[in-house]
């Protein structure tokens, strides 16, 4: 039986059986009836419609899981707030089972990125009882399915030992699972942490927003990005769990637990110390009740080791030694901050839209103390993160570096859900469901080459033969859409902050979140967008993007998906380390062609060619003088009066970055 079929069978059993523990009486009976109908419909499609509609069972599994999750969420939403049957513990266990069930399907694609190194490290601990990875690298094809070499920046021992630069604590946690079931066991360990994270998030939200139905939040926090990291071997989910638990224990009723979670957080990745140390300081300061001397003393004590670490190795909190913090400047900070917010491939707006909405809403109102404390403790980490060129996480699923902030996002998202009405809720549910379907059905597609395009842009460009990628904001290769989005976000945040100062709430509380007697008080000064405008605005946006995308843009990036390549190769190669640091292009040799849509008229062609090259653009020959490797030059070219153009390399080898209309 294939992994997909196994996951499917598990999902059917889970969604059929587990609700019996969550639902009761009439709700359970109705769920059973709907569940059977949905299962029968799925089986019918599996047996019949799969022949003509979707031949790929991966998509069916993804659609089935998401549809069932939506169905369960609807029934959970009908349960009263004070019904303790739906406890975070039960929901967390449900999440654990779901993540574990998805593993056979997810693990059909080979593990990738840093996952392989964590697995090799775990293998070394289990078999060799050391951290030397030489023999693991030698056997990497057997262990992880492909040959693996050491990463740049890996420490080398005195006797030639090859160590990993990754902290070993996660690998230590993975030992029991790996010893029992190999890579699948290691992934299952992370899935258990995923369930713990869901439990912790729901507990945190229920403590911070006691009148909120936490079950409503479940499908949103179980979805992207947690879904993608809870089924893969990365430290992000355990770290988010530790951070969440630390926030829950911030009142220091149990200082040992609070301290333990902070220590575990730092042990998972040293960069998380940038969260743990400020959090410790803030919590101690809050508990000191304006005892300034004590606060100053604690601050000084915490600053010393932090400064010492920073002085000892400036890159200690960085992801890569080559990516030093000293490269920080305003432009890189803007790219990082804006990219994390709305980059089409790596930003919150496109990868976890509800979390983005929560973040924006959090700017305009004080939701809970935990959110304030958490945000303050996150500031230093973000200050270190956003100037880096690898703010997007590199070769990893999206939102890698901010998954750790899931507790904050969860509270903010709950605040949004409290205020959302049906149309908005439907929209966010559709977006989240669509992202989850895509991620489950095509796990390898979550790893995207950092070339400035996005999965969505590539699909649209390939399907519609237009440059749709330029309409989606990219901060990896900043474009006009990113500038527009930046301005819009700044404006929205400014308006929200101004409204907050005038005491106007951006969204009134929805019926679901209205506290007894709060209706008049909360809605006295508020504004909201009329619901019918939402689909109309989406339609206008869609047709606008379609009209723009169908027309040629001012810049043609030769490596983009809308360019039809007939020969040639990507530059730099696909899996080069830190590819985002290079200016990308497409290398053509004699006879290779590239067809594209572009505006007619005078344009500049950016290229490098070690020995010079001759190209023909729509039959017009152009001789390109030699330009040293990676030293980009430009040449003027006149494109004829048409939109479809053909570029052919006649002689030599040339790497072309872009053709820019003047």
């Amino acid at each position: 039986m294939s992994g997909t079929a196994l996951s499917f069978a598990g999902a059917v059993a889970l969604f059929s059986l587990y609700p019996a523990t969550l639902l009761r009486d009439e709700t359970l009976r109705r769920y059973v009836v709907f569940d059977l109908a949905a299962s029968v419909a799925s089986l019918l499609f599996f047996f019949n419609a799969a022949h003509f509609a979707l031949q790929d069972p991966d998509w069916w599994l993804a659609i089935f899981v998401v549809a069932k999750m939506a169905q369960l969420s609807i029934f959970l939403g009908r349960i009263p707030v004070d019904d303790r049957a739906v406890s975070p513990r039960l929901l967390g266990f449900f999440a654990t089972l779901l993540f574990v069930i998805l593993l056979p399907h997810i693990l059909q694609s080979p593990i990738d990125g840093d996952e392989t190194h964590y697995v090799l490290l775990t293998d070394s601990l289990v078999r060799d009882h050391d951290l030397d990875l030489r023999n693991q690298y030698a056997e990497s094809t057997r262990l992880v399915g492909r040959p693996i070499e050491g990463q740049s920046g890996d420490p080398i021992g005195a006797n030639g030992e090859l160590y990993s630069r990754h902290e070993p604590f996660l690998s230590i946690l993975l030992i029991p699972g790996y010893a029992a079931l190999g890579t699948a066991g290691a992934a299952a360990t992370i899935a258990i942490f995923g369930g713990l994270l869901i439990f912790s998030l729901l507990s945190l939200v229920s403590e911070e927003l006691p009148d909120f139905k936490t079950a409503v939040l479940l499908p949103f926090i179980i979805g992207p990005p947690v879904l993608f990291y809870a089924t893969r071997i990365w430290p992000e989910v355990p770290a988010a769990f530790c951070f969440s638990q630390a926030l829950r224990h911030r009142h220091l009723r149990s200082p040992v637990r609070f301290g333990m979670y902070l220590v575990l957080l730092c042990a998972l990745k040293l960069r998380f110390a940038l969260i743990a140390i400020p959090l410790l300081f803030i919590v101690v300061a809050l508990s000191s009740r304006r005892d300034w001397k004590r606060i100053a003393l604690v601050g000084a004590l915490l600053t010393i080791p932090f400064a010492g670490l920073l002085l000892f190795d400036r890159g200690v909190f960085s992801v890569r030694p080559i990516d030093a913090v000293s490269a920080a400047n305003f432009a890189s900070a803007w790219r990082g901050a804006a990219g994390l917010l709305f980059d089409a491939q790596a930003g919150l707006l496109f990868q976890a839209p509800l979390l983005f909405a929560g973040l924006i809403l959090a700017c305009s109102r004080r939701t809970s103390q935990a959110l304030s404390v958490g945000s303050a403790s996150a500031a230093l980490y973000l200050l270190f993160l956003i100037p880096r060129s690898e703010w997007h996480g590199g070769w990893s699923p999206p939102l890698r570096y901010i998954v750790v902030f899931m507790p904050l996002f969860a509270i903010a998202a709950a605040a949004v859900l409290q205020r959302l009405r049906l149309a908005g809720l439907t929209l966010f549910a559709l977006l989240t469901g669509g992202l989850a379907i895509h991620g489950i059905a095509q796990p390898p597609h979550l790893f995207h080459i950092t070339n400035g395009e996005s999965e969505l842009g590539e699909v649209l460009s390939t399907h519609l033969y237009g440059d749709f990628s330029r309409l989606l904001p990219s901060l990896i290769r900043p474009n006009a859409a990113a500038m527009i989005c930046s301005i819009l976000v700044v404006l929205v945040v400014a308006v929200l902050i101004a409204a907050r100062r005038r005491g106007i709430s951006p969204l009134p509380l929805g019926e679901g979140g209205r506290r007894p007697g709060e209706g008049v008080m909360a809605q006295s000064r508020s504004f909201s967008v009329p619901a019918p405008l939402l689909p109309a605005a989406l339609s206008v946006l869609l047709v606008g993007m379609y009209a723009c995308g169908s027309r040629p843009g001012p810049i043609v990036q030769l490596e983009d998906a809308h360019v039809q390549h007939n020969g040639g190769r990507l530059y730099p190669e696909h899996f080069i380390v830190a590819r985002f640091r290079f200016q990308g292009g497409w290398t053509l040799t004699g006879g290779d062609q590239a067809a594209f849509h572009a505006r007619s008229g005078r344009s500049r062609l950016y290229y490098f060619a070690d020995t010079g090259a001759v190209v023909a653009v729509d039959g017009i020959t152009l001789r390109l003088p030699a330009a040293q490797h990676d030293k980009w030059k430009s040449a003027s070219v006149v494109l004829p009066e048409k939109t479809d153009h053909l570029l052919r390399c006649v002689e030599g080898e040339v790497t072309i970055d872009r053709i820019e209309h003047e």
């Binding site: 499917f8 089986l43 399907h463 007697g517 869609l542």
Partner: protein
Amino acid sequence: MICRREIRIITFVFRDRRYRPHAVRPYAQHPVRKQRAACPLRCDENCEKFGLGEPATRRRPRESRRLLALSSPKSLKPARWALLALMFCCSLPIARSGSAGLTPLIATIVLLAAAIPIIPSEELFATASLALPLEAFLSLALTNEATSRWAAGTVYALSVCVVVFAGTRDGRWSKGDAILLLAAVAAPLRLLPLDGLRSLPEVSILIGATLLIALLPSKTVTLEQLLLAFIVATVTPDFPLRASLFPAALATFAWLLVAPSPFTFAAAVLVALLAGKWSLPLLAVTCLASSLRNRGADAGGSRALLAPFAFGAASLARVFAIFPDFVSGLQSPASWLLAFVSMVAVLVFRPHLSLLYFIACAFMIVTIGKGEKVRVPVSLMAISFVCLSLTSWNGVTRATLALAIPSRTLLCVAILATIAVADAFPRLRLIAAGAVLMVGCSAFGAFSRGQSEALTEAFGLAPGESRSFVLPHPVAAISLIGSGAHMADVPSGTPLAEVEIIDSQHSVYRRQLTAGELSDWGFLRHDQIFQSRNAIPAEPSGIVTGEAGEAWLSGDGGLRLRAAKPIVGFTIIANPKLSPRARINFRGAEELR
């Protein structure tokens, strides 16, 4: 118990003849309210209890009133019309260039236009309207045409669900709303595409479906009746012409059932004579049930007698778990046996009509089941949802829904439904259902088709001809995909060809290829389905030609060939006794993985 202050409010309201929200304003400023505690007067609840209008706490604040002008009653409809027109103008160019086609978009627009007077809530209207941009986006983003159409159809079906449930009042619909909804859903399904439209049968079906609702005795319409009317309007075939009288005949039969009189009897007989002999059994059942009701027989007795005569519909009803309280009256072995035999008879002798008879029986039961609690019609909802989600191919739905359900699916449904209608122990039921589904899913893993590799080119055989093939490499199993030509009159089970399979040890296995494994290429076209003696292939390839009402499923079928050892070649010899014009065309052999 109402306190004195509340009495003062109520007196004030009645004196003023209309609700004044500011009448309760002082209590909104009650000190207890400022502490965020519940209002001691519970003015919200009382306002609702005494029908005093919208409670003060739900009143729109002053700041939001300007922005929410679109939702005020006066500007509501024009604004919605304007927004709908805007959305249509935006979505049309995308849908025209997208892969989903125009059918779901037009169907959605018609639905939303009908929803404007039906849905009072702006939130629900906006939620239903999200279907338009979503369909447009899906038609752009999904590259596979079939997937795109199916996804757009599913979004349309979801928007229909929202509109239907948004327009309900206490689980019932006014007749006007129900007819409007029915027309909005059925008209696009029946009338698109406009090219080649046979207007007389389609209009006849639409009018008949409207009559189904209009002739109901009560002033309101239940969900079961509405869904059945949807299904009737969707699945009624338009060929031959007399088949299009099915909704009208059903309407008059139901009318006769609830209001028996010489006039209704004459109307029913007249319509039955016009509709043809297929409607006579239904008329007989109706007359019998009607006379039993008139003679004072209890409702259970009439229904128990109705079921076996309705050509086994009770068994199907049991299978689909619609009316457990109805079938619970059929406990005697004799009635079950009769029901089973009649169902088998229908499936064997008139399989094309089984679905129509089933729907007719269900509608009659719903019509006479006034005042009885009928279980949530999940299967009706599921059938409606499937019909609507296949909007882009509703020609296929119309012609082949009954035939397209293979026996193994029916078996799954039967097992699950039997579990579902078990009397008690919901948790035990869940466990049993989960176990059954796990087995089903394991079977899916075994049966699902993987990516295939073509092993031979396409070829055709006349009667008596043969072709031999040597495979490029030995394979464990192959699938031959093909269809017939000029074979629509060949009964299912007739030998079409003999296949000799040669394995790697040169052993020869012989296997007969019969009609039913593959069928005539075009026997499921609307104008041929009732004249053909073919059946849908056991493993249909699922090639659909045409869009919307013009769509039809090809008779292509797959034939699995396996041997003990890897197959290295095969020979096909066409049956020489076939009609001289007949041909068997194969698209080729594929490796099964």
